[in-house]
């Protein structure tokens, strides 16, 4: 869907993107991650053609990104805002027409979406009279009303309570099932783990790591295992490292074990001998990967 190669963007002396490469598969939910100031917003603005890259190429479905593609992109910016004095219906109609919808199509879709969010009876209310959550829903509708092939969501869940977060999450999954590619930019790693298939982590304007979510996570495996047994367990080989997790409130016979390059079978056998209760490989959370890799960089 999107291929970006060697994107460079500077503002005066400050270089926001330093040759960023990334690739987004059609129909995927793609997590665009990175700390504040990493260059996420600059990249999103380049995709939206709000800014032009100083160097590098962006391809949209194989074609160099151009003005016509704007109508196939939906964008929910992190900075939410609507015209406060405009009526909800009018506002959505205006934004939909700007995305190239005809008046009648726009009106039909507005009705569908507002009904879905139980806002239809308030279509003549001014935006300023809405609560923050409701205004966010209107904003979400504005970004998807033209049924974009690519939907860019910048921190989509901020401002929503848990119930509405669930509602929006289901809408996003629904749009993805119907074929939309979704770029999901956020700091909230738990929602990334829940939704995204592919991720890229950028820091200081360049790509730090990326790929399939589970591949990335397995790359960050520490080589340690966590096990709990019924009786006390002893390392079978002197080369194995282990530590008890009792002090960490994990039960009397909980251990963290590193066997280096030895086969897992040997370890499991020795654990079975001590009455194995549970065994798992230590895989860091995305949050830990995020913090660790940005600190290392």
């Amino acid at each position: 869907m999107i291929e970006a190669k060697g994107i460079v963007k500077s503002y005066g002396d400050h270089q926001a993107l330093k040759g960023l490469d990334l690739s987004i598969k059609e129909g995927s939910i793609f997590g665009l991650l990175g700390p504040n100031g990493a260059g996420k917003t600059s990249f999103i603005r380049i995709l939206n053609q709000i800014l032009a890259a100083d160097e590098g190429e962006v391809y949209f479905k194989g074609q160099a990104l151009k003005a016509e593609h704007i109508k196939q992109i939906g964008y929910l910016p992190e900075e939410r805002g609507l015209y406060p004095k405009m009526k909800i219906g009018e506002q959505l109609l205006y934004l939909a027409q700007l995305k190239g919808l005809s008046k009648s199509t726009a009106q039909k879709r507005i009705k569908e979406w507002l009904n879905r969010f139980e806002l239809w009876d308030r279509k003549d209310a001014k935006v300023e009279s809405l609560s923050k959550g409701l205004a966010q829903k209107v904003q979400f509708v504005a970004s998807v009303i033209h049924e974009p092939e690519l939907l860019i969501l910048d921190e989509p869940f901020t401002g929503f309570d848990p119930v509405n977060t669930e509602v929006i999450k289901n809408e996003i999954l629904g749009l993805n099932e119907r074929g939309a590619t979704i770029i999901f930019s956020t700091h909230r790693m738990e929602s990334v783990e829940e939704l995204c298939e592919d991720i890229v982590l950028i820091n200081k304007g360049s790509r730090l790591l990326g790929g399939k979510l589970h591949t990335v996570k397995s790359e960050y495996k520490s080589g340690w295992f966590i096990a709990e047994t019924a009786q006390a367990w002893q390392a079978a080989k002197p080369s194995w490292e282990s530590e008890s997790l009792r002090s960490k409130g994990q039960g009397d016979f909980s251990y963290r074990i590193n066997i280096g390059d030895d086969a897992k079978e040997e370890l499991i056998q020795s654990l079975l001998n001590s009455g194995l209760i549970s065994f798992k490989e230590e895989i860091p959370s995305l949050n830990e990967i995020f913090i660790q890799s940005t600190q290392d960089a």
């Binding site: 005066g12 910016p77 900075e79 805002g81 015209y83 205006y94 904003q139």
Partner: protein, 437 residues
């Protein structure tokens, strides 16, 4: 509809429905009319009748009857003296009491010095002025008589000269109409000044509002910043034109009603014969002079130039105001950038005061070419028949500058609309114009 069209429509329709716009558009001409015509109307109202008792012991006043407002009542000097006359006036509740003493040896200056007006309280200026006027002429008559001159001769030979100035420019002899031209020039220039200020700052405020409502990013992901900026400028400009047309229309309507009510009912009913007779009767009156000099003004050029500089000036300043709006987060921060825009406007108004007196002077000619001041200064000069090349050059320069200003403003705008939280300097604005977008 194109995106630009949609934006223009939104900018126009959200503002035209605002109560403040409707009230200002329809109330302002009415208020203006009230301000202009109320004094005239009040003057036609019958005032309170003021009765003034007069004891004219020198018999100089010829039993003047007074006016509608001031009624004079004479007491016979043979039956009343000063004390009894004054007492009678006070007891009958008259407005005031005027005493003209007897002259000793027929000296009019003695009388002039000793005339007294009595009243319990302040005397209105109109009453005081009235007596000063008539007493001056009566005493002058007494003096003429004393010198052996018949006042009748003076009255018969009184003459009023009204110099007719003929403009011989271009071999034609046309009536001079300097005052009228000055009036037209100033009113046109001032109207442009007002509209640039009112609607230019609306453009600026609109941009700041979009920034502070954080809708900018959403908008520029759908439309080009240039379209957003031009849509706003054109939409608000259309609003200004609409308001202007309504004002002209209402003004004409009010003027017609006014003339019909206060000046000449025949003109309002449109009776051509009465109108023609009226004109003949008017031949030598100042009103006819204005009518005659109106014919010397090239109204089609005045109208064309007014519209051109109105639109051109508004677009030029509108683009610059939009750039200022994009550079700041709140209106209070806009002051430093507003200054370079307000100075040429205010300077133009000052220059016009000189230019109207000397429309072909170097100052006026130069300022009517410089694009930031030309919309006002050239419009003020137009009624005085500006050479064609000057007018053409000024218009071309205005168009070129407008294009350059839009290009520059669009550069600042593109960067400015997505900048939050810092107050830029002029140096930074310059740097923004050099970013590649």
């Amino acid at each position: 509809m194109s995106n630009l069209g949609l934006i223009i429509k939104r900018e126009f329709s959200t503002r035209v429905r605002k109560k403040s716009f409707i009230i200002l558009t329809f109330l302002a001409p009415v208020l203006m009319a009230v301000l202009l015509f109320l004094p005239a109307y009040l003057a036609t109202l019958p005032g309170d009748e003021k009765v003034i008792t007069i004891l004219d012991e020198s018999v100089i006043m010829d039993f003047h009857k007074g006016t509608d407002e001031i009624k004079l009542k004479y007491l016979n000097p043979k039956e009343f003296n000063f004390e009894t006359a004054k007492a009678l006036s006070e007891s009958s509740g008259d407005y005031a009491f005027l005493h003209v003493p007897k002259s000793e040896g027929g000296d009019p200056d003695f009388v002039a010095r000793n005339i007294r007006l009595f009243r319990a309280g302040d005397v209105s200026l109109s009453v005081e002025g009235f007596f000063e006027d008539i007493l001056e002429s009566y005493i002058q008559k007494e003096k003429l008589k004393a010198e052996g001159v018949d006042p009748g001769i003076i009255a018969r030979t009184k003459t009023n000269v009204n110099l007719r100035v003929i403009n011989t420019e271009a071999g034609l002899e046309t009536e001079n109409a300097t005052l009228l031209k000055m009036g037209i020039g100033y009113v046109c220039a001032f109207a442009i000044y007002l509209f640039i200020f009112i609607y230019g700052s609306q453009v600026m405020r609109g941009v700041i509002e979009e920034k502070s409502n954080r809708i900018m990013e959403l908008m520029v992901s759908s439309v080009k910043p240039f379209e957003l900026m031009m849509g706003k400028i054109i939409g608000i400009g259309a609003l200004a034109l609409l308001q202007f047309v309504i004002w002209i229309g209402l003004g004409a309507l009010i003027f017609t009603i006014f003339t019909a009510t206060f000046i000449d009912p025949a003109m309002a009913t449109g009776n051509p014969q009465a109108g023609a007779e009226q004109l003949n009767a008017l031949q030598d009156t100042p009103a006819f002079e204005i009518y005659r000099s109106l014919q010397t003004v090239n109204f089609s050029n005045v109208l064309f130039s007014f519209l051109f500089y109105f639109i051109g000036g508004y677009l030029l300043y509108g683009a610059l105001f939009a750039a200022v709006g994009s550079a700041v987060d709140k209106e209070a921060d806009s002051q430093q950038f507003m200054l370079p825009l307000t100075i040429p406007l205010i300077l133009s108004l000052l220059v016009i005061l000189r230019a109207l007196d000397n429309p072909d002077g170097a100052l006026a000619v130069w300022m009517s070419q410089i694009p930031l001041t030309s919309p006002l200064v050239m419009v003020a000069r137009i009624p005085f028949d500006v050479p064609l090349w000057q007018q053409a050059l000024s218009m071309v320069l205005l168009i070129l500058t407008f294009l350059a200003a839009v290009w520059l403003a669009a550069k600042i705008y593109r960067t400015g609309i997505l900048m939050y939280g810092k107050k830029p300097t002029f140096k930074e604005l310059y740097r923004w114009t050099r970013y590649r977008n």
